[in-house]
Symmetry: C2
Subunit: 405 residues, 2 copies
Amino acid sequence: MPVNLNPVKPEQLAAIAGVELGVAEAGIKKADRKDVLVIRLDKGNTVAGVFTQNRFCAAPVQISKAHLDAGVQIRALVINTGNANAGTGEDGRQRALAVCQALATELDCAVEQILPFSTGVILEPLPADKIIAALPKRRSANWAEAAEAIMTTDTAPKATSRALDIDGHKVSITGISKGAGMIHPNMATMLGFIATDAAITRPMVNQLVKEVADLTFNCISIDGDTSTNDSFMLISTGQSGAPLIDSPNQPAYAQLKAALLDVATELAQAIVRDGEGATKFITIKVEGGRSVAECKAVAYAIAKSPLVKTAFFASDPNLGRLLCAVGYAGVNDLDVDRMALYLDDVLVACNGGRNPEYKEEDGQRVMQQSEIGVRVELNRGQASATVWTCDFSYDYVRINADYRS
Amino acid sequence: MPVNLNPVKPEQLAAIAGVELGVAEAGIKKADRKDVLVIRLDKGNTVAGVFTQNRFCAAPVQISKAHLDAGVQIRALVINTGNANAGTGEDGRQRALAVCQALATELDCAVEQILPFSTGVILEPLPADKIIAALPKRRSANWAEAAEAIMTTDTAPKATSRALDIDGHKVSITGISKGAGMIHPNMATMLGFIATDAAITRPMVNQLVKEVADLTFNCISIDGDTSTNDSFMLISTGQSGAPLIDSPNQPAYAQLKAALLDVATELAQAIVRDGEGATKFITIKVEGGRSVAECKAVAYAIAKSPLVKTAFFASDPNLGRLLCAVGYAGVNDLDVDRMALYLDDVLVACNGGRNPEYKEEDGQRVMQQSEIGVRVELNRGQASATVWTCDFSYDYVRINADYRS
């Protein structure tokens, strides 16, 4: 059961003018399961993405990067589940390109105008023929069905919409994402696609996708594994009629960015809420650091620690494990006597030891909640960072021990 | 059940002349359990240690380091389980010193001549009074009982001995260790004590302890958590009658180092074999790297990945997870097309993809073994490193979710 994840309501997801969705069942891993999604775009769009930093990045990641770098007009994105096409070398690239070519032929465009995405098992050959055979059979879909089509071990689809007014024009944003394991920043086994009918220049869409990812999809961790495939794409179709955004100094840029952050935060948090085996949603905020990087390092040390995560699972305020993780986060000149640790509003530790006023029952009360806030005050600077994670349960082991069967 | 862990046979553990062991039940966490060990040393010994690099290092670690740095003759080590005395600030240091002072008074020496060690729960006050009350009640013990007295979540004691001949003199070495969770290099919740009756100068014992730790206790990982307390101590009493070792160029230095490595390797591996919830013992060897550091980084990325560890638990050759871990190990210019991955003698991946000859049943065969070898050939240099780890099972979660209850 996901932790406080809002169910997707199809009628609340805005269609985005200039985007046409199609889903199909290719039988990649299981029969009769939606496992292919095509996002077809009208001409006049701009698209940008951020990708996994894993050196073993998958064939589709390599190809999508190259196609985006080519600077051509993107006409479609094609996404499959059930096979990651990662660790597959040159043969994997050829198979991904074959899928792109099939769609390019149908859409009468060049292969570079198609972006491929895959998620699923690593190190197995992509059944490109099955995908190519399924493409002509795809049927028109809404965003809720699109969100379902990209699920792997997710237990629920993840999608949300926002609307805003830019200079008197209604602008819509709709996004979908999928997790649910192997999640760690710099893209994990995570796919996120956000489309808007705002009009944005290519340099601005490039800047927006990075700024938004850094504060959302790059702030989550489920098990510390950075996957081979993961990608977050921002698509603008320009069909809202709102004026073109071509500078970060325009008020519309800030307005749109705020709405995109809102969508991406909900989608990124949804991945954690539906993290493999998750029973708790944990927000880790590290403040008073000398840099965002060191705040993130501390937050991730906590977020990744199996000992911390099993303590959350057990609702056990075994909070020394949190201090221990802070201690090995790699901030080598950290003065532990100056830091403070809070669990929600409860001051647990300060002056290098337990807060004399701290009572076990106060820690226990917070640990029993399904949403828990951890706050670390480093007291050595002005920077801060927030990371979202979940606990570590029997089910995480079960899901990952069973994943291929 | 530990993985192929040899049971300790008390009669095979050599007493070390100049070392007197005593155990007691202080009732620190549980009644009627051996939880205090005193290792009393005759004068004329040399002692050196390596300690956790966690910034939140425990009070006893801070004190043991300071006492060793003082350069005085060490007269005893006092070890308690059930409480780590970590995250306890100045009060924790005072409590550890109170224990040292009680023993110093009994032994008629200075407080700096006592080294304290603690392991157990973090962030709770050390019941120093209980330990001080138990000290006079301690009874003479052998090494097998000493090994039992330092256990926490260990399911079995860990101890071993070796004998060697140096210039016609029989030299004995006996060591004990404890794990079993929170194990990651640069000392984890790991205590290791090795004593020998060889005669070694202080600079040489300092050098030996570091060289031995780097190849043994600093090469293991159970869950990636580097603990607050852990310490590996090397004690030489000089009572064997063998000539003094005062230079690394002496043949006796190499001879003794080899035997110490043998003892420390067995003790370090024993910790992994008895890792919390372990069902598999995995040796990860990374070869052909440009530096030992990068080989260790790759080996630890594999050893720490929950996805890899759950696949081992499931005996599932989901080997893409191994490649994925190599990919995010932080070797940023790694050419994945040049590396090769072996599971025992089975070539799984090469040329950036799956070995065309690889058969699932070959991978399956190796994964079902209780001892598994993973070998990564980076093909970019001459360095290599070996790391030992275990799998990740339901029991790991159970043990760590229950630990304080």
